[in-house]
């Protein structure tokens, strides 16, 4: 996190939003989104999105429903195109590699980028242990000892270890909703991802379970880069270092969370954060 981006690397992009952040001290850029457009059939869901996401930060995408925030996060690990009829264009550069390059296998990308979904979706037939180990087994890791270590570490990382350490062979579906969601986080962490995408991870949870997830975000960003989609402004304010406000498929404003909430540049953003619509 000491790495500071040289100005040269971002100087090609002179849009207003980027100019603002350039004035602030910078961490290393982890993901840069350049000119991403996305469609469902003939309907355009994202319009020319440009964004730099920095390492070891939590970035929130917010906006009213239908603004494209979920689509954008799903473009970052090429999940968007798995939906029938959906397509995406543009560049998403992860550590200098464009993940939309033809030579890149989308499967490899998903191994480096973990994802947590709106509703907890543990594998219903698997035990807690197997759920966390699923990704490792999928990718051909057979060393039992290694798997056990990683499972324990991932559950710890997801703050679930203490609660389930005595019932690892019980089905994952037996947990409460919040625990299930943390199980899904552990499942993603087991893959040793560099980035964790969270698509409205608390929308199906009660406030207490939500706050546990939010604590986790704070803890996890020490080791990875987190991008979180939320329609809940308070949540964005609590967990995110950077926030992006989207509306109708366009990126309206992007900057430090504090600034977005206290002193937004765009009128639309101000109306959204002050609860006038959305």
């Amino acid at each position: 996190m000491e790495d500071i981006l040289s100005a040269k690397e971002i100087s090609s992009d002179t849009s207003e939003t980027t100019r603002r952040i350039r004035e602030e001290p910078r961490r290393r850029s982890k993901v840069s989104i350049k000119g991403v457009n996305a469609w469902f059939g003939s309907k355009q869901a994202l319009k020319n999105i440009n964004l730099e996401i920095e390492e070891n930060t939590a970035t929130a995408f917010m906006g009213p429903s239908g603004c494209g925030k979920t689509t954008l996060i799903r473009c970052l690990n090429r999940m968007h195109e798995m939906t029938p009829g959906a397509k995406a264009k543009g560049q998403v550069i992860l550590d200098g590699i464009d993940i939309y390059d033809k030579s890149i296998d989308p499967v490899i990308i998903k191994r480096r980028i973990g994802m947590v979904f709106q509703k907890p979706n543990p594998f219903p037939t698997m035990s807690i242990f197997d759920n966390v180990a699923a990704g490792l087994k999928l990718n051909g890791i057979k060393d039992k000892k290694l798997i056990r270590e990683i499972v324990e570490e991932s559950l710890e990382g997801a703050g679930l270890w203490e609660e389930v350490k005595n019932e690892l062979d019980k089905p994952g579906m037996g947990l409460s909703g919040g625990q299930q969601q943390r199980l899904c986080i552990a499942r993603a962490l087991a893959m040793q991802p560099e980035i964790l995408l969270m698509d409205e991870p608390t929308s199906a949870l009660d406030p207490l379970a939500s706050s546990k997830i939010e604590e986790l975000v704070h803890k996890l960003k020490k080791d990875l880069t987190i991008i979180i989609v939320t329609h809940n402004m308070q949540q964005a304010a609590r967990v995110a270092d950077r926030a992006a406000f989207m509306y109708l498929g366009e990126m309206i404003e992007y900057g430090f969370t504090k600034q977005i909430f206290q002193n937004p540049e765009q009128e639309l953003t101000e109306r959204f954060v002050s609860g006038k619509f959305g």
């Binding site: 490899i108 191994r111 051909g140 990683i150 570490e153 990382g157």
Partner: protein, 306 residues
Amino acid sequence: MSGNNGKSAARFHRREVQQIMVKNARKAKIIDKIVSIFAIMCVILAVIPLTSILIEVIKNGIAAFNWDFLTGRPSAIGRAGGGVGPAIQGTLIVVGLATMIGAPIGILTGIYLSEFAGGGPFPNGVRFFNEVMTGLPSVVMGIVGYILIVINIGSFSVWAGAFSLSIIMIPIVSRVTEETLKIVPNSIREAGFALGIAKWKITLFITFKSAISGILTGVVLAIARIAGETAPLIMTILGTSLFFTGFNNPVDALPLRIWRLSSQPYESAQTQAWGAALLLILMVLALSVALRLLAQRRGFSVRAEI
């Protein structure tokens, strides 16, 4: 987390795991390719025989078609000429009669299950046995028809055939009826209740009316199924080379005629068998296509096999 210790372990794992994953990526990709090829092969393997069936039936069947074939009686064994007139007539009569018996009973059972029965042990039992019935071999239904009707009347007869086919039909019709009625939105029923209409009237005039095309679909589906049945007819209507002579006498039917013709060693008979097969397949497929178009328009799916 155990502080520094845990973190460095994580770093170590990250490298190690990623290395293994990269190494395994090629293998996983190859396996994935093999599976994809396997799936495509399956489709091709299945499509070959099925195309062949259609081609052969059409090719060989058309050769048999002429006026005499459609209206004439079968000629004596080994002689050319003749037709499958009695079989066409017989199929229409037996299937028609079976529908007249089976459709009302099936529809009533379906209405009962969906509108009046709810989820108690008895209706659930009926549902379960209904489902099991649809999977029973049709030849067994033929035996039932034989024991209950043929033995009592003392002769192979239209009645017995229609009875057997109707037993096959009832579970299919009642299941589709129940499912279609369930799709009818409750708000329609409630609108009726709000006006203080009796339940049976609501069922008959409101629910049933909005579900009528779905129920029709079920009936057509069942007809398509029983029109092609052969086995139960062997032990009920027997087959004959005469036109219809009465409900208590044997009749002929297309599937039965195909079977008899195909077991004769004469080419003329075999050609006629193909012709009859083409007729039958046209009948059944026309019914199925019509039914699926109907179903598609209504926005629900029906399955032919259960």
